[in-house]
C-alpha cells in the first residue's frame, strides 16, 4: 500500500485531483449560468479573479487569510449579480451572439481594470498550510496540507451547491426558473431574481476556484491567472455536458488527472492538444456530453 501511495501514478492522480477540482468548480459555474440563462460566460474566470483581488487584496492590510478567503465569495456573488442585472439582462431575447460578444468584452475590461488597479505583477497568497508533501517512511506522498485544503475547499463548495439545489426551496425555485421560466412565474416564483442569484452563485463558486489556484505555492494571483483554468473548465463543462452539474465536476476531475499524466509521461506542451482531442471525441460520440441528455418526451 505504501509503495502504491508513493508511486509515480498515485502522485499523478493526487496532483491531478487538485487541478481537476479547480476545473470542476469553474465548469460548475459555467453550467449554472448556462442552465439558468443559456449564456456561455467567457468572462467567468476574469470575474472570479476580480473577486479574488477584492478579497485576497486585503491580506496586504493585515487582514487574516480566512477572512479574506470568505470575503471572496460575497465579492464574487456581487460581481455575478451586477453583471447579470446590468449587462446580461438587457440582452435576453436578442441574437445569441450578443451575450457572447458582451462576455468577451467584459473579460478584456476586467483584466484591464484589475491590472490598472492592482498591477500585473504576481501577488503571492500564502495560506496557513504547509506545501511540503507528507512522507511515508522516507518516500514523499504527493499530498500536502495545502493540497488537502485545496481539495477540501472544492469538495465543500460542490457539496454546498448540490445540497442547495437538491434539498432547499430556494434550490427548487432556481431549478424551476432555469427549466421552465414561464410556468415558474405562473406559480409565483420571482424568476428574474432567481436568474440573478444563479449568476451570483456561479461567480461565487468560481471565486473559490480562483482562491485555490492563487494559493498554490507557485501560481499566486495575477489578472490573467484564471485564463488557463477557465479554458480547462470550459472543456470539462463541454465534456461533462453543459446541462449537468455532476458532469461538470466529473469532467473537471477527469481532465485534471489526464493532464497530470500527460504532463508526467509526455510533455506539458501536449496537455491542451490532448484535452481538445478528448473533447472532440466525446462530442462526436455523445454530442450532449457524457452526462448530458436530450430531452425525451412521451407522445
Amino acid at each position: 500500500m505504501d509503495a502504491f501511495l508513493t508511486s509515480r501514478n498515485a502522485s499523478d492522480v493526487l496532483h491531478g485531483l487538485v487541478n481537476g477540482m479547480v476545473f470542476g468548480l469553474v465548469a460548475l459555474g459555467l453550467v449554472l449560468i448556462w442552465r439558468a440563462t443559456r449564456v456561455l460566460n467567457f468572462a467567468l474566470g476574469a470575474m472570479a479573479t476580480a473577486a479574488a483581488y477584492l478579497g485576497l487584496g486585503l491580506l496586504s492590510y493585515g487582514v487574516g487569510f480566512w477572512w479574506c478567503f470568505l470575503l471572496c465569495i460575497p465579492a464574487g456573488m456581487a460581481i455575478g449579480a451586477l453583471t447579470e442585472r446590468f449587462l446580461v439582462r438587457p440582452l435576453y431575447g436578442k441574437p445569441e451572439i450578443n451575450p457572447i460578444v458582451a462576455m468577451v468584452g467584459l473579460l478584456i475590461l476586467i483584466e484591464a481594470v484589475v491590472g490598472s488597479i492592482w498591477g500585473t505583477r504576481q501577488r503571492s497568497v500564502i495560506p496557513p498550510f504547509s506545501y511540503v508533501d507528507w512522507h511515508l517512511g522516507s518516500n514523499p506522498v504527493a499530498l500536502s496540507p495545502l493540497a488537502v485544503f485545496q481539495i477540501g475547499c472544492a469538495v465543500v463548495m460542490a457539496l454546498a451547491v448540490g445540497a442547495l439545489f437538491r434539498f432547499t426551496n430556494l434550490g427548487l425555485q432556481l431549478r424551476a426558473a432555469a427549466l421552465a421560466p414561464e410556468v415558474s412565474r405562473l406559480l409565483g416564483v420571482r424568476v428574474s431574481r432567481m436568474l440573478t442569484l444563479g449568476w451570483a452563485l456561479a461567480t461565487g463558486v468560481a471565486a473559490v476556484a480562483c482562491v485555490i489556484v492563487s494559493s498554490g505555492f507557485i501560481s499566486g494571483l495575477t489578472p490573467s491567472g484564471m485564463e488557463g483554468p477557465f479554458a480547462a473548465g470550459f472543456i470539462a463543462a463541454a465534456v461533462g455536458g453543459l446541462e449537468s452539474p455532476v458532469g461538470a465536476l466529473v469532467g473537471g476531475v477527469s481532465l485534471g488527472i489526464l493532464e497530470a499524466f500527460v504532463t508526467d509521461y509526455w510533455s506539458p506542451n501536449l496537455v491542451l492538444p490532448v484535452s481538445l482531442l478528448v473533447l472532440v471525441v466525446v462530442l462526436v460520440v455523445r454530442p450532449n456530453g457524457l452526462f448530458g441528455h436530450q430531452r425525451v418526451r412521451r407522445v
Partner: protein
C-alpha cells in the same frame, strides 16, 4: 369577482383581442369558448400578466391586475394551468407540487393530503418524473399544482386537449366539484365547447378576438346560431 373591461391585445399588427369586456362571478365556472385563433389563450395570458394589453383593465376584487408582474398576480391567488399543462418534466410529481405550494396560502403537508385525496393516482406516482406521466395524469398534476396554492381563481387553458373522452369527463366533473365544494372561481378556456358548457355557469363566446356572446351557459347551449356559426357544433 374579476371584471374585464375594454381589453385589447395586439401582436405586432395582429389584433388578438378587441375591446373585450365581461365579468367572472365569484364561485362560478365561466367558460370562454370559440374556434381556433379566437383569442382564448391570449385572454388568459393577459389576465395572468404574461401578455401586456394595449388597452383595457382587469379588476380583481378591487385590485387592478394590468401592470402587475405575473408572479405578483399568482401570489394574489390567481392560479393558471397553461395550455399544454406546463408540468416540469424533469421534476418528480412531488417536486412539482412542492413548487406549487411555495407561494400559496397553505402548508405543504396539508396541501399534499388534500391533492392526493382529490387525485389519488398522484400519490402513487409521487416519486415519478412528471415527464413519464400520461396525458391525463399530467393534467391532474397541473391542476393539483395550481390548487395546492389554494387560489381563489383558477384559470384553465384547454384541459381536455389530448385526453380520451372518459378522462375529459372526469376532469370536467372535478372542475365542477371544485367550484361547488370550495367556492373556487374558474375561468375555463375550451375548444370542446359542449364539454365546457356542461359544467359552466356562464359562457363567453369569442370570435376573432371579439366577444360575440356573454350569457348563462344554458342560454348559449340552447342558441343554435351561436353553436353553428361560432362554435362549429352541428345543429
Amino acid at each position: 369577482m374579476i371584471r374585464v373591461a375594454g381589453l385589447s391585445v395586439s401582436y405586432g399588427a395582429v389584433r388578438a383581442l378587441r375591446d373585450v369586456s365581461f365579468d367572472v362571478p365569484t364561485g362560478q365556472v365561466t367558460a370562454v369558448i370559440g374556434s381556433n385563433g379566437a383569442g382564448k389563450t391570449t385572454l388568459l395570458r393577459t389576465i395572468s400578466g404574461l401578455v401586456r394589453p394595449a388597452a383595457g383593465s382587469i379588476d380583481f376584487d378591487g385590485l387592478e391586475l394590468v401592470g402587475l408582474r405575473t408572479e405578483a398576480i399568482a401570489r394574489r391567488g390567481i392560479g393558471h394551468v397553461p395550455e399544454g399543462r406546463g408540468v416540469i418534466e424533469e421534476f418528480t410529481v412531488l417536486d412539482n407540487l412542492r413548487l406549487g405550494s411555495l407561494h400559496g396560502r397553505g402548508k405543504l403537508a396539508a396541501g399534499l393530503e388534500t391533492q392526493f385525496e382529490l387525485f389519488p393516482i398522484l400519490a402513487s406516482r409521487r416519486k415519478q418524473h412528471a415527464g413519464t406521466l400520461s396525458g391525463g395524469e399530467r393534467q391532474m398534476l397541473a391542476m393539483a399544482r395550481a390548487l395546492i396554492a389554494e387560489p381563489s381563481v383558477l384559470l384553465l387553458d384547454e384541459p381536455s386537449v389530448g385526453l380520451a373522452p372518459i378522462v375529459t369527463r372526469d376532469v370536467m366533473t372535478t372542475i365542477r366539484e371544485l367550484c361547488v365544494d370550495r367556492r373556487l372561481t374558474v375561468v375555463l378556456v375550451e375548444q370542446d365547447a359542449m364539454s365546457a358548457l356542461q359544467v359552466a355557469d356562464r359562457a363567453v363566446v369569442l370570435h376573432v378576438g371579439e366577444v360575440v356572446a356573454d350569457a348563462a351557459a344554458e342560454v348559449v347551449r340552447a342558441d343554435e346560431n351561436l353553436r353553428h356559426y361560432y362554435l362549429g357544433v352541428a345543429t
